[in-house]
């Protein structure tokens, strides 16, 4: 039994967030109604109408939702209930909703739905609840009631084009620092900056230069060992992440994505390879590109899983000795349900590890980490509740009996570390690159 499976509080409460509370004080009933109606009128269309009209409240989405399962099947956590209690009421009341409603809508849309789209697979009509929750987030953004921590992240994106307030010199300096350190291991290793015409532009998310610079080191070793013609941009556009996508600030999302694509276009690379991040992939491959009017990314974008698959399957990276300890593998929604990389991730993990123990369910049916849809970015005020909401995920992980958990996604990684710590699972959470770097021939 999990540590606090019994003592878990299931009492539902609205969590106080200073930014949400401050935003609510600025609202009037007229303002609320105007924003909601304008957003519904100008930014939605047949898709929303079809979803709203098609839902027959069958509840088949409920069992698909890890929040519902983690909260003793409390009906309010069923996706259909979350829709009803947010966008459904906004539509039914024609925007005449009050602050108490909005306070709850913020909590549901930003912290009780991770936009993982698992429920979409179980809906007989394929209703995309993540899309509906994204509209709620968009409305909350326009009302100025976004949770503080994720709003600050969106501010960072707006000011610096990266999510962690990394200053321009800090970025380049960090790359050169990692390059220097890696030369202790591979004397002629380079992280080529601004190499025009390289095959690949490698992009990362800002937590890497900010907190996890060793991941850049590992990537550089992998690239150099594989003999890849690669580069990294010195200018803004290097960060592929996009929390503005999750706050509902589409305009900043688009600006950040444009900077990313233009960095690649400026360097004339054939493709972008991005590190192990899921939401960043979603923002580049699905959401942000389309806001800009790109049907698909204007330059091919390859997630790290896909890239490792290419390097290993073509023999560019050879495995010296497989990782011996049993591992389990998390399937990040944004690159599994969002891109279908489930078999490639297994090819890679099986190539570098002796014993992969599958979670159940797995692949596109895997449970969400409860973090990567912007939930973890809402910060400490919501962490305790986030842990309760992740109980089902904790159970799923624990059932594997392994002590190493691979997560090829940054936000999943952070969320899973929180889960492992909170539920005392005693597991070490790793990126694929952590193990690949360890077991590859150099």
């Amino acid at each position: 039994m999990l540590k606090d499976a019994v003592e878990t509080k299931t009492t539902y409460e609205i969590i106080k967030d200073s930014a949400v509370e401050a935003g609510l004080t600025q609202l009037t009933p007229e303002r609320i109604q105007t924003v909601i109606l304008e957003t519904l009128e100008s930014e939605t269309g047949p898709r929303l109408k079809a979803y709203v009209n098609m839902c027959v409240h069958c509840g088949l989405c409920s069992e698909a939702c890890s929040y519902y399962l983690s909260n003793n099947k409390e009906p309010r956590f069923a996706p259909v209930a979350k829709v009803k209690n947010t966008i459904g009421e906004m539509i039914r009341k024609k925007g005449r909703v009050d602050n108490d409603f909005l306070r709850q809508a913020v909590q549901i849309a930003y912290t009780e739905c991770n936009l993982c789209k698992r429920c979409v697979m179980y809906c007989p009509f394929g209703i995309d609840v993540a899309y509906l929750m994204s509209i709620v987030r968009r409305i909350c953004h326009k009302l100025g009631i976004t949770p503080q921590y994720i709003q600050d992240t969106a501010h960072s994106h707006a000011a610096t084009m990266n999510q962690m307030w990394v200053k321009e010199d800090q970025w380049i300096d960090t790359l050169q620092w990692q390059e220097g350190d890696a030369r202790e291991e591979i004397p002629d290793l380079r992280i080529p900056l601004d190499k025009n015409g390289a095959d690949i532009m490698y992009s990362v998310i800002a937590p890497e230069p900010k907190f996890q610079a060793s991941l850049i080191y590992q990537a550089a070793v992998i690239m150099n060992t594989a003999g890849v013609d690669w580069t990294m941009p010195s200018a803004p556009g290097w960060d592929n992440s996009d929390m503005a996508m999750y706050t509902g600030d589409s305009e900043i999302m688009g600006r950040v994505k444009r900077a990313h694509f233009e960095a690649a276009m400026r360097l004339k690379v054939n493709r972008i390879v991005m590190g192990e991040c899921g939401h960043a992939f979603r923002s580049v491959y699905d959401v942000g590109n389309r806001w800009l009017s790109y049907k698909m990314p204007p330059v091919p974008v390859i997630h790290a899983i896909d890239f490792y698959y290419e390097l290993i399957s073509t023999g560019k990276i050879k495995i010296r000795e497989k990782f011996k300890e049993p591992v389990t593998l998390h399937d990040p929604c944004n690159v599994i349900r969002g891109r279908g990389l489930m078999e490639k991730s297994r090819y890679v993990v099986n190539a570098i590890c002796e014993n992969l123990v599958e979670m159940t369910p797995n692949r596109e049916h895997n449970f969400c980490c409860g973090a990567g849809g912007g939930v973890i970015n809402c910060g400490p005020p919501y962490k305790t509740r986030r842990m309760i909401n992740n109980k089902r995920k904790a159970e799923q992980i624990k059932e594997t009996g392994t002590k190493v958990l691979i997560s090829p996604c940054h936000n999943c990684h952070s969320g899973l570390e929180d889960i492992c710590h909170h539920y005392e699972l005693g597991m070490d959470v790793k990126f694929i690159s952590d193990i690949l770097y360890e077991v590859m021939e150099k």
Binding site: A19, A22, S42, H141, K142, G144, Q148, Y149, Q151, D152, H155, S156, A158, A159, T160, M161, W165, K167, E168, D169, I172, D173, Q176, P187, D188, R190, P192, L193, D194, K195, N196, G197, S234, A235, P236, D249, E251, G254, R255, R258, M265, K268, N270, R290, L292, S293, Y294, K295, M296, P298, V299
Partner: protein
């Protein structure tokens, strides 16, 4: 700027052996060529502790612990950012600036190459240094550095209000300003991007966000009275000083100038606009329908549409021609005045016009080899690498700089022989 009339334009080939550089040094970084093609250089690792700059096989006397961003300026100076003992400075033809910094980056040149500017960080404060002179004022953070063509104006977005991460209310009230030549505008905006500087008019313009939702253009620190849900980078009319920008209206993207909409059509996207010489016409990259891209001149979109991308809008010197590059189904083309190139490429670089505007050339990659395409004809030879082509002042010759088999080639080719 090098006077290209004085370059050697005699048809023929010069070569420089570079295959022994790899034997002489620990490693050789990316090669760079001088504008006239007479020099090829690279950052080279001299030993475990130091790097240098090698030009035509000769190593500059000064070596450094770190070197990056080596380039030839438009006037042919070998310029790079260099550091010893974590003190950074700029090296120009082997001579270093007197000022030293904790870090420098974003090196920019004036059009003639006589002015070199960098962004710097010193003691945690940020500013720009222009020809070894630091801005008088420095700031807590700085982004979006720019330099005008003459080099007379340097500008950047600077943080003028003390701020800590997480202070979202303070951020939204405004903490950023524009700093021009070391002097910041009064007041602050929530965000500022894309500073445009002009050579012939006393105009500085930038995209601003006055809160989380309202975007507009600020001209000399005075925002337009109309705001939009989104705005892209401004451009300044070289003749009149008018400022224009792509703006997002409730019905789509279009172009505004001096606070008024000037294009009638609405697009899925508009950006990268430029005034044609004379200032009477404007060209831009547009997306007339979702997922389709082309160029528009004065609100008239070309009928040729690319499925994946259009960009690198280039205007001929006399303003009579507009060229872009575009991608459809993974194949790259260029389009000139609305007509797509007959052949496609694996990659294509920015279009280059001759001074008389009569010829167009591009660096291209096809089937793994690099070459140039001139007036729609692909040069018969391919190379391991080429640089972007340069036309002679008369437009009759094109300079091709290329690498093959450890040899650098400077070839002058008659345009009518391609």
């Amino acid at each position: 700027m090098q006077d290209s009339k004085k370059w050697d334009w005699s048809v023929g080939e010069k070569t420089i052996q570079i295959n022994d550089w790899n034997k002489s040094y620990v490693w050789v970084e990316e090669y760079q060529t001088s504008p006239d093609g007479e020099k090829i250089g690279a950052i080279v690792r001299v030993d475990e502790e130091s790097s240098g700059i090698c030009i035509n096989g000769d190593l500059f006397e000064n070596t450094f612990e770190k070197i990056w961003n080596f380039r030839f300026s438009p006037n042919g100076s070998a310029t790079a950012l260099v550091a010893d003992m974590d003190e950074w400075t700029v090296s120009v033809d082997g001579m270093v600036w007197e000022n030293q910094f904790d870090y420098i980056w974003d090196m920019r040149f004036s059009q003639d190459g006589d002015v070199t500017a960098v962004a710097f960080q010193k003691d945690g404060k940020y500013g720009m240094a222009v020809n070894d002179t630091m801005w008088e004022n420095t700031f807590g953070n700085m982004t979006g550095m720019t330099l005008n063509r003459s080099g007379s104006k340097s500008a950047a977005v600077v943080q003028v209000v003390p701020f800590s991460e997480g202070e979202i209310s303070k951020f939204q009230k405004g903490i950023f300003s524009v700093c021009e030549n070391g002097e910041a505008w009064d007041g602050a905006f929530t965000n500022i991007w894309d500073i445009a500087l002009d050579d012939s008019n006393p105009v500085t313009a930038a995209t601003i966000r006055t809160d989380l939702y309202h975007y507009t253009i600020s001209v000399n620190n005075t925002p337009w009275s109309t705001t939009y849900s989104c705005v892209w980078e401004p451009a300044i009319n070289p003749k009149t000083g008018a400022v224009s920008a792509p703006v997002k209206t409730s019905s789509g993207w279009t172009l505004a100038e001096n606070n008024h909409l000037i294009w009638n059509r609405r697009y899925k996207q508009v950006w990268g606009h430029q005034y044609l010489p004379g200032g009477k016409n404007i060209a831009a990259i547009v997306s007339p329908q979702f997922g389709k891209w082309t160029a528009a001149v004065d609100d008239n979109a070309w009928t040729v549409l690319f499925n994946e991308y259009a960009g690198s809008l280039t205007i001929s010197p006399d303003g009579s021609h507009v060229a872009i590059i575009g991608q459809t189904d993974g194949k790259w083309f260029y389009a000139l005045d609305g007509k797509i190139s007959g052949m496609h490429f694996d990659r294509i670089w920015e279009p280059v016009f001759s001074a008389d505007s009569n010829h167009l050339a591009c660096k291209v990659e096809k089937n793994g080899g690099f070459s140039i395409v001139v007036d729609g004809k692909l040069f018969s030879e391919t190379f391991e690498a080429v640089w972007e082509p340069v036309f002679s002042p008369c437009g009759k010759f094109v300079l091709l700089k290329a690498l093959n088999g450890g040899v650098y080639l400077r070839k002058v080719i008659a345009v009518d022989q391609i």
